[in-house]
Subunit: 308 residues, 2 copies
């Protein structure tokens, strides 16, 4: 029995590593294909069960991930790990299928303006494109994951109505996606808002089919994850090192750091299957390649312990 | 009515700024007396109602705060703000009273080993010294605040029993302290532990007389504050910029950043009376004097917005 004011946390949580895609796509440094492959192989040894390895968008838009096919073909595939890639359209899907990824991730925004700036189409005009991608991916035996961005706020429109999040989410589930990742794209969510939004969404969607994707731009990512777990969410996206930055606030922190999330979960006795030392090794590796101190808190402690 | 899994948060929270003491005492850089005074005057304009301005310990132990008396005498005293200073013993108290601080803060550890390393005395031998300080401070018309460090873990002993925290806390309240600040000295607390410890402590102590003092060494400070608020705590210590570091992990993050805490509270609609822009100005000022990027998340966003 829980007392008044006591929170309830799950026994198990899945951390999905999105550093090789969401992390790198927002970094200025170009990481070589060989280094990407070595890093993803290292991540495969951490116990992570899902790694988003790249994005098959037009290299013109994201030069940092222009080597998507080489990366997807070059990595070792460990049994039991889902290797996922972002796909914006049919051309991207063809490349992703040719490179034989396990899962295809489609994305759109709950904000009309952000969707237009990001995809150059209205929300309604994006649906048929993603539906085609999802159906072909499913036909090819791939699982499909959906991302909705700007769920907790848009850099152009400000607050986003939960009704709009529901409309986009339902459309994505109708396309056959297995899991929906709700993105705090600019890192402005707060725990009260997360509780309020989830309270509404969980009346319509199964908590086991939702993932939360927080950026730590304002420092509240772990607090937002804490309240999400209390509401029944057990899957979270994260990037080792806290890679990624924010395209709307240069210099700011990126995705919540996988090792900071893991530290909190481990300390709370929540099982993830991820090895903290190996995860820190993978964070150190990519920090060395990026060539600047990454925002992760635990990476600094680990580094210090080594020196001191 | 709250539903299952819903958290409960207060309408008002008090942030106590401890940067000029706990922040600076763990920084290598020596900030000049004039800069300290200018900075504290700036903090006085943010809306903070309590500022811990310095420490009257022996300057041999903390050279960074050797100018305690000059700082205390040099700052402008704004009406309605409590200017507090750390005091270890009777000699320190005499200097603090001579400098006319409003509040005296006494400190000890819940860990026998940490207390010995920090104060060079056993816990039992520390009590009479602090009792004398507290009684003389109260006689002089000052309020007295108590700190218990290593509440959530000790760098030497590891886990600390709640019974030991209770023993030290009761002794401090018996001395007449008005508020007790429970310190996560090395920043290893996790939300489940915080909930468990507070669940026990709040059966003995009034939530209104407890403050929580988290370091962000491992990134979980705001998550720990979130669960503390859910348990009824409404006072938190913080340092602008996230100043302070950790003496046991060189290079690691320090106190939770006041502006990161304020961002989360503001976004949740929790009133603090603190102006976020003025707080960021004070963080930028001290970052310039310290001469390295401080760990605060919002300071990076703010700086970026200025540049971009």
């Amino acid at each position: 029995m829980l007392g008044v004011g006591e929170m309830n946390w799950p026994a198990n949580v899945t951390i999905k590593e999105v550093g090789p895609r969401d992390g790198l796509q927002n970094e200025k440094a170009f990481v070589s294909t060989d280094d990407k492959i070595a890093w993803i192989n290292q991540l495969s040894g951490t116990g992570m069960k899902s790694i988003e390895i790249t994005s098959f968008v037009n290299p013109k838009w994201i030069p940092a991930l222009a080597d998507a096919a080489e990366v997807a073909k070059g990595i070792e595939r460990m049994p039991g790990i889902i290797y996922s890639a972002l796909v914006p359209n049919r051309q991207g899907l063809e490349r992703a299928l040719e490179a034989d990824v396990d899962e295809v991730a489609v994305f759109m925004s709950a904000s009309e303006t952000h969707n237009h700036k990001n995809i150059n189409k209205s929300i309604s005009a994006t649906f048929p494109i993603l539906r085609e991608v999802a159906q072909e991916a499913l036909s090819a035996g791939k699982s499909v994951r959906g991302y909705v961005s700007t769920v907790f706020g848009c850099p152009y429109e400000g607050p986003i109505s939960v009704d709009e999040v529901i409309r986009v989410s339902e459309a994505l589930f109708d396309m056959g996606i297995g899991e929906l990742s709700l993105g705090d794209t600019i890192g402005i969510a707060n725990p009260k808002q997360v509780q309020g939004v989830l309270d509404i969404l969980l009346k319509r969607f199964d908590a086991r089919k939702l993932a939360l994707h927080f950026h730590d731009t304002r420092g509240a990512a772990l607090a937002n994850i804490l309240v999400s777990m209390d509401m029944g969410i057990t899957t979270f996206d994260a990037s080792v090192g806290g890679l990624g930055g924010c395209p709307y606030a240069p210099g700011a922190s990126g995705n919540v750091a996988s090792e900071d999330l893991l530290y909190m979960l481990d300390a709370m006795g929540i099982q993830t299957g991820v090895n903290p030392e190996k995860l820190l090794d993978a964070a150190r590796f990519i920090q060395g390649k990026i060539g600047r101190a990454l925002p992760s808190r635990n990476l600094k402690v680990g580094s210090s312990n080594e020196n001191g």
